[in-house]
Amino acid sequence: MVKYLLFVTTLVLTACQHHPEASLYQRLGGETGVENIVDGVLSGIEHDSSIVHHFADTDIPRFRRLLIEQFCELAGGPCKYTGASMQESHTGFQITQAHFDALVNHLISAMQQQQVPIEAQNEFLAMLAPMYKDVVYR
């Protein structure tokens, strides 16, 4: 009986190792996935006349790199965000609720485009939504 239980336990455990719960980073598509999502957001911003003016003086390649780092780190990927805090980097831009909503729409489109499963999208949005207070009206 004990042997049988041990055998089953071993089987179950090895089975688990073969099918680990995919991390959010993996479900966002890993390195390429996150890069594509960020590029999708950037292209959304670029074509959105309601918010593109905020980025007139922004070093875009740097911004892109930092967004990738940040998304990757948040999702549990192997990265370290090296940029400034959300409060610091968004102060002085007079970002409004409409601007924030616009960016969320671009992020959602980018994730849809990338065919990220809805569960992973929601998990990621849950992490970003609370940043609202650090970004708007500063």
């Binding site: 609720q97 939504a129 609202y132 207070k133």
Partner: protein, 275 residues
Amino acid sequence: MKILLCSLCLLMASGSLMAGSKVIATGGATTVEGNSGGGIVPWATINGYSSSDEWSVNTFAGRVGVDDFTLDSVGIGASFNNQWELSFARQKFTLDTIGGELRQDILGIKYKIAGELLYSGMPQISLGAQFKKNRDFALPAAVGAGDDSGYELYLAASKVFFDAIAGRNLLLNATVRSTDAHQAGLLGFGGAGVSHKLMFESSAVLLLNYNLALGTEFKQKPNQLGFADEQHWRDVFAAWFINKNASVVLGYVDLGDIAGLTEQTGFYLSVEGTW
């Protein structure tokens, strides 16, 4: 019904016309009373898609068909700054078995006082007022209503919880309404011994994806008219937010007993356009 179908076709054909910045579905649907909410419960949400400094307008038409009655509602509304909501709705309650109809107009205003549905830890909280006026008062007066008009005040709290159930987002809403209306005002207001009572209403909505939602609602009723019992209302519904210009809600409602006729259940269909 024709109006419903025609407006739906028009909306679907309209594609994505001018719409505000808010995320899809965050303006809620429009209730039978004309304000943003589910089907029968007003939420703290502001109708339409106008975010900060933006305007939006909306219109809706809905029908509730239960065993012995039909309630048709049509209305228009305007919102500003994701903070103010103004609405006007006209209701026609047809007494299919008894004969006759009861019509009433509802003017509503809502103001968001705190919180952000999606972005803050605390719920979005709004204060609303409705002024209701009967256009047919003979029957309500005959059964004991004292007034052909009344006002209602409500406080609503709504919040979206991301990734709440099976990875889906969940909207929860609680509303407290002060009212002296009988059957939501269709049978008049006030009368002997009738006062404003605080009633509790609630909704829970699971957002299956960005466009589809399943919800359920409960609306407590005061039951202050002696002539016949009124009961709490309940419903379950599916909402389809086709795009930021059009949405459709299909529901199953239980309105309890009305004017002595028992167990009034049936279907609810509403279409809405927002710009």
